[in-house]
């Protein structure tokens, strides 16, 4: 199978998740394909970004995609923004997980700036793509402006320099103690560009203040352990040859940094310091994702601790032997040959994945499971499918990047963050 055919199948398989797992009445998309899964606003954002891809690939009509987008945006526009604990959102932000049917908050989850950012990125993608002068597409653009404008980015700082990681009506702002590089670049870019409640420029500098430029395994990079950190903002922003002050100082850019992150992941897999014996040059991909969740189990005379869903990273860990294949795939624009090689290896190991062409959240060939090949995550996760659709498209045509280069909030936010050069 040729590379492009392989990618087309993987991309289509991933997109079908959104066809299958969306509530057509409100546009909400399930977090996972598992029974009774709530919606995730981040997955909705990925779905909204995937619809233009599907139109261009001929998988859905433009009218159908616009209708799906419009239903979604109308839902968010009319949903409850209030202090009630089961509202859909507050201060323009949204709760991370919502009921698929009612759209109300579930699981007593947090009001999430980062997940609202991913939702907004999808909304803005739709706004850029649906540029025709039809009433439906005009309404999409108007709703996008309204939804963006009502997000109170500055409120989310809680008076501090950087944006808090969440807020709950039951206990207020959350503190996960994030340090160093993380996936929040897109959040700061969109927050800085807000026409109504912008983040101050200093917030971006404060966020980057804990960056560490490290040489690991012979690679100089801005370190972050899990792959998803090197991918999520890149799904929408083309970071090639644009630099903020940190990257100017290091004579690099975030795209190149994500490529180097792949090198570090592969080198770690080659070394396999925990002696799982299941990694290799074509078997890598350490990121956030589902896990065996077995706790501590003795395997071949050695105590192994297997986590549930967690952010795995290398080389500092945690590493429990679990690979996140969708994260490997999402590195396609940065290291295409290496990713394609890994995909072919995964499909050799798990040929049944070719039945749906949809990658599971994780597999672990050390953890005991029902399958003799070890543990395999059940069903699929919307985040994995969404990032796969977008990153494959960015590799194949650059569609999302091209759209968002013209997105004025993205351009303004990048400029306010100090980015220069390249297409800016």
């Amino acid at each position: 199978m040729l590379d492009d055919e392989l990618l087309d199948r993987l991309q289509r398989g991933a997109f079908e998740y959104f066809v299958e797992e969306t509530n057509p009445a409100n546009g909400l998309v399930a977090d996972t394909s598992r029974k009774d899964s709530p919606a995730s606003i981040a997955v909705v954002g990925l779905a909204l970004s995937a619809y233009p891809v599907a139109v261009e690939r001929g998988w859905v009509s433009r009218e159908d995609a616009a209708a799906r987008t419009l239903v979604t945006l109308r839902f968010f526009e009319s949903s409850a923004q209030s202090a009630l604990p089961d509202a859909t959102g507050q201060h323009g932000f949204y709760y991370h997980f919502l009921s698929m049917e009612s759209g109300k908050r579930v699981w007593q989850c947090e009001l999430s700036p980062i997940d609202t950012t991913l939702l907004l990125a999808g909304i803005l993608t739709g706004s850029e793509y649906f540029s025709h002068p039809t009433s439906a597409e005009a309404e999409i653009r108007a709703l996008a402006r309204e939804l963006y404008g009502r997000i109170e980015w500055d409120w989310a700082r809680n008076g501090k320099a950087t944006v808090a990681q969440g807020w709950k009506p039951e206990c207020g702002f959350l503190n996960y103690g994030w340090q160093g590089y993380n996936e929040a670049a897109l959040l700061y870019v969109l927050g800085l560009a807000s026409p109504t409640h912008p983040l101050p420029r200093a917030s971006y500098a404060a966020w980057t203040a804990t960056y560490q430029w490290e040489r690991i395994y012979g690679c100089d990079l801005l370190y972050a352990g899990p792959l998803f950190i090197h991918q999520f903002s890149h799904a929408w922003i083309d970071f090639r040859r644009i630099q903020d002050s940190f990257m100017r100082e290091k004579d690099s850019d975030y795209f190149e940094n994500s490529r180097r992150a792949v090198d570090v992941q592969r080198e770690y897999a080659r070394r396999d310091p925990n002696e799982y014996g299941t990694y290799g040059k074509d078997c890598w991909g350490f990121s956030a994702g589902d896990g065996p969740g077995l706790g501590t189990v003795r395997v071949r005379g050695r105590a192994r601790r297997f986590f549930e869903y967690t952010a795995r990273g290398v080389p500092y860990g945690p590493d429990d032997g679990t690979i996140a294949p969708a994260a490997t795939l999402a590195s396609l624009p940065f290291a295409s040959a290496l990713v394609l090689s890994a995909m072919r290896r995964f499909l050799e190991l798990y040929p049944e994945w070719a039945e749906t062409w949809r990658l599971p959240s994780g597999f672990n060939r050390t953890a005991p499971g029902a399958d003799p090949r070890g543990w395999i995550s059940e069903g699929s996760y919307g985040l994995d499918q969404g990032i796969a659709v977008l990153m494959i498209e960015n590799y194949r045509s650059g569609l999302i990047w091209k759209l968002m280069r013209n997105c004025s909030p993205i351009r303004a936010g990048l400029t306010r963050a100090g980015f220069e050069g390249g297409w800016l």
Partner: protein
């Protein structure tokens, strides 16, 4: 443990060149340094010579940690191709007997007799300043030209409803235990909390560790805290980060504790509670207001970089004033005080490369600046990292967990700081401290020959990585040309 209640206090010689309040690491180091230089020194202690470090801190904790490591290694024997010994039993009274024996043995070096023989006038009792140049011990008035306050600190008593009634341990009395608690809650994820949580878990306690911050060892690097968190979890510790302890109550024989993270409350029942949430400076009752010495009951005594208090005659050192509460820092500070107070010195504490270490397994050691500090000062910084799993000796020893990170001023070999996470990080950091103290850069460290295989090769490998990175494309081309004929 050493005290000398039967000893008669010395007869005052007036005025003393240096009067020292507190015979912990800082006070003892200052007394010895000063008296060896011919100064008349008075040393006042109200409790035990050696202070917290010897009697209630480093020495007993490191002793119990070494035993707990042994038990961990026995259980991990299979990983080394060995057999797990059958019937591993922890004899806790024997473990604690070893703690007392070693404490006594090391304490012998610090006796009232040896101090007196050295020429130090030793006074047991409560010291109170009664003026800017005099203090009293009981009815005895001692005049001084310079003074050093080194009274140390005591454990902070957290205001958790029900905690006092339920009773709890701190580092001051945990080593008096005669039975290993079956279920232990440790409140606080700083060095004391992490070290003892791991030690007791390895000795058989079911340990719950609750930490109010989102990371362990609040000041350390994220990656170090991540590795420590994984290590503690592997020891079976039930970890609760970003968690407040809100209430304690007695139910039967259990101490029942509410732990709250965000809006979720979890209740645990334990036999003992160990509190390690920090220390408070011992400043009460010293009469500091009579001496013109400003102080704060939480932050301690403010000092300048020369360790002078607001009374230029009086200096302070150690836990009573500094943020990093490690005994060797007290010792460094003590020597600075002696130089500055008695010999017109201008030595600054900030000029010292002072390493510190948390003795968990793996150990976490640091010296100099953190990256964040450097960046706040607009110093361009690059980190050269070697993972311990890249080091042959660490692989052979099954001690691959951890790393050496050298933080360097970008474009130069100047070491700004370093963090080491490794089984023996406390030893490894010394080579880097030496380099920083001597002003050696990474070019020099890269030239140091080392026996193979050793774990300290991680440092040379980091220095080699620096040298390699400095080889510009032009120089590589030049080398290729040179070697082509």
């Amino acid at each position: 443990m050493t005290t000398a209640p039967a000893l008669r206090n010395a007869e005052p010689r007036v005025p003393y060149n240096l009067l020292i309040v507190g015979a912990g690491p800082a006070g003892l180091a200052a007394a010895e340094a000063a008296v060896l230089r011919g100064a008349r020194v008075a040393l006042i202690e109200r409790d035990l010579l050696g202070g917290t470090c010897l009697n209630k801190g480093c020495i007993p904790s490191k002793t119990i940690i070494s035993t707990s490591r042994l038990y961990r290694e026995m259980r991990d024997a299979e990983q080394f191709g060995g057999q797990v010994p059958s019937g591993i039993v922890v004899d806790f009274p024997s473990v604690m007997e070893r703690v007392r024996r070693i404490r006594a043995r090391i304490g012998e070096r610090v006796s009232a007799e040896s101090l007196a023989a050295m020429g130090v006038d030793l006074y047991f009792g409560e010291a109170t300043f009664i003026g800017r140049d005099r203090a009293s011990v009981g009815k005895t008035v001692l005049r001084f030209k310079k003074a050093l306050i080194a009274t140390g600190a005591r454990p902070v008593r957290p205001s958790i409803p029900g905690l006092e009634e339920a009773g709890y341990l701190t580092y001051e009395n945990v080593f008096d235990l005669t039975e290993c608690p079956k279920r232990l809650l440790v409140i606080g994820g700083g060095p004391v909390g992490c070290e003892l949580a791991q030690a007791f878990a390895r000795l058989g306690s079911t340990v719950t560790l609750a930490q109010a911050d989102p990371m362990f060892l609040g000041n350390e690097e994220r990656d170090a805290a991540q590795l420590l968190s994984d290590a503690l979890a592997r020891d079976g510790i039930d970890i609760h980060l970003d968690t407040r302890t809100t209430r304690v109550r007695i139910e039967g024989n259990d101490k029942v504790v509410d732990l709250v993270r965000e809006d979720v409350t979890r209740t645990v029942a334990v036999d003992r509670i160990l509190v390690g949430v920090g220390t408070a400076p011992k400043v009460d009752g010293l009469g500091l207001e009579h001496a013109g010495v400003a102080y704060d009951s939480v932050k301690g005594i403010p000092v300048d970089d020369f360790l002078r208090t607001t009374n230029p005659r009086i200096f302070a050192a150690g836990d009573v004033c500094t943020a990093n509460k490690f005994p060797h820092i007290e010792s460094v500070a003590a020597h600075i005080v002696v130089a500055n107070a008695l010999f017109l010195g201008r030595q600054r504490l900030s000029a010292e490369a002072v390493p510190w270490c948390t003795f968990t397994d793996p150990e976490i050691a640091h010296v100099g600046m953190y990256v964040t500090e450097a960046r706040q000062k607009n110093i361009p910084v690059k980190t050269f990292t070697i993972m311990m799993h890249e080091v042959d000796r660490a692989i052979t020893d099954g001690e691959e967990e951890g790393f050496v990170k050298l933080h360097v001023r970008e474009g130069t070999g100047k070491i700004l700081g370093a963090t080491v996470v490794a089984r023996h990080a406390g030893d490894l950091i010394n080579e880097i401290s030496l380099a920083m103290t001597a002003g050696l850069d990474l070019h020099v460290l890269a030239r140091v020959n080392q026996p193979y295989p050793t774990q300290s090769q991680a440092i040379k490998m980091a220095a080699d990585a620096y040298v390699q990175s400095r080889r510009s494309a032009g120089r590589s081309w030049l080398m290729t040309k040179w070697l082509s004929w």
